[in-house]
């Protein structure tokens, strides 16, 4: 059901029946390691290329989600997935393995919530009985495609972020469990930031735009939620977003406004401004937050996944970095 200009309210409250989260060695040493279903010791995962490793991670997350949801793979109607690789090959190849009707999406690091919003919309409207949404990212594969070869000695500035190696997937359907109650689809926002080593600053305006649209459309204010978490703005982007939201009159109580990129790693890990990548918001939401809601430690959360929509060529052609953010509310 459309609410306001760009939000959906899911009247039948589709449920997240089960999730799967997979991570790499860096995530295993991170702050949320115990909330992962599966952790790998190295980034190769037994494959002979980084891209094949990422595909394995996404497949594993999907299979774990299906198992945890206690549904048969054959009864899942649609697989909605996206990732950072060119032509979203990771998702397409995982879809080949899963053999489920496939909707490929691209939202960069906002893919997790974009997928969850679409999956929930399908189930809420009776267009699907069960929908599987997932996303993945791989540190080395992302560095290779967007920046430099992984062994290259180029000095990264403190505004850079660390792409999460991992994958997160969720099965949405009707049943008992944490419910998806609404979603706000974001507009593309571009404030002229063009530094690919400072994506937090590029994405913050999109996060602000979507958050404000959500509260406007649903006629709510921040006090409605226990946690409002942005996907991967990192320290710098998160600070910027918080300041702009405060200026625009949105007040957060202590400890409400969080960022998945800041939560996933420990302070002593060399991750510069924080985690990033599609798997960042996915693993934190489908792992940590999902478990907290099931334990009733959290009741209402809003996850605002943020994505930087540049390509390796666009910034060489002196284009700035447009960004988008999608918000989904999950309640117990």
């Amino acid at each position: 059901m459309i609410q306001g200009h760009q939000s959906w309210v899911f009247k039948s409250k589709p449920t997240i029946l089960g999730c799967g989260t997979v991570g790499g060695p860096f995530e295993a040493k991170g702050a949320l390691a115990k909330d992962f279903d599966l952790l790998h010791e190295d980034i190769w995962v037994g494959q002979d290329s980084f891209e094949k490793s990422e595909k394995k991670l996404l497949e594993e997350a999907c299979q774990i989600a299906i198992k945890n949801a206690k549904v048969k793979k054959e009864s899942i109607n649609f697989f909605i997935s996206g990732d950072l690789m060119n032509q979203i090959v990771i998702s397409s190849f995982a879809a080949r393995t899963l053999n489920i009707p496939y909707l490929g999406i691209f939202g960069a690091c906002s893919s997790s919530m974009e997928g969850l919003a679409i999956a929930s919309l399908l189930v809420d409207n009776g267009a699907a009985e069960y929908a599987l949404c997932g996303t993945s990212s791989h540190n080395a594969a992302a560095e290779k495609q967007f920046r430099y070869p992984t062994e290259y000695g180029g000095q990264k500035p403190p505004t850079a972020q660390w792409t999460v190696t991992g994958a997160g997937a969720a099965v949405v359907g009707k049943g008992n469990g944490p419910k998806v109650t609404s979603a706000t689809i974001g507009k593309v926002v571009d404030m002229g930031i063009s530094d690919p080593f400072n994506m937090g600053a590029a994405m913050a305006p999109a996060a602000v735009d979507t958050i404000e649209a959500h509260f406007r459309d649903l006629n709510r204010d921040p006090s409605y939620y226990d946690i409002i978490a942005t996907g991967d703005l990192g320290k710098i982007g998160h600070d910027i977003a918080e300041e702009i939201l405060k200026k625009d009159g949105f007040k957060f109580q202590e400890g409400v406004f969080k960022d998945c990129g800041k939560l996933i790693y420990k302070k002593d890990q060399p991750v510069f401004s924080g985690g990033s990548g599609c798997a960042c918001s996915a693993t934190v939401t489908y792992g940590h937050f999902f478990k907290e809601i099931k334990k009733k430690k959290l009741n209402k959360i809003l996850v605002v996944a943020t994505g930087a929509l540049m390509s390796p060529m666009s910034y060489q052609q002196k284009e700035s970095i447009p960004s988008v953010a999608h918000a989904v509310s999950i309640e117990s």
Binding site: I43, F50, A140, T150, Q155, D195
Partner: protein, 117 residues
């Protein structure tokens, strides 16, 4: 012994210039090294780089700027013998060792190593 001191100072100094180009002017490492190579070529053309090499030894010959100087030197050496066509034929004369070594050992590296990420 004195040459070691100047090698340290001049070599370190050229690296500081590169660091400032990256930190203050926000240039990428590729843009920085490219600029220094071109500067090396220009200084070489003006006859200013060779005296620096004589004075600071490896402090001037190890940084990438010396690559630009060597390219010009090679070009001029051939030009002195064969005229203007020498500019074209002589460019890689002196730098052949460096580029060949980088390609050969880089390739061997790809044969032996896997990226660690």
């Amino acid at each position: 012994m004195e040459k070691f001191f100047w090698a340290f100072l001049v070599g370190g100094g050229i690296c500081v210039i590169g660091q400032l180009m990256m930190d203050v002017f926000k240039l990428t490492p590729a843009h920085t090294t490219t600029t220094l190579v071109v500067v090396g070529a220009i200084l070489g053309g003006l006859g200013l780089y060779d005296p620096l090499v004589k004075f600071a030894g490896a402090g001037a010959s190890v940084p990438i700027s010396s690559f630009g100087n060597s390219l010009v030197k090679g070009a001029m050496m051939e030009a002195d013998e064969y005229g203007i066509i020498g500019v074209l034929t002589g460019i890689f004369e002196i730098t052949s060792a460096g580029i060949s070594a980088a390609v050969i050992f880089g390739f061997i590296g790809a044969l032996i190593f896997k990226p660690k990420g």
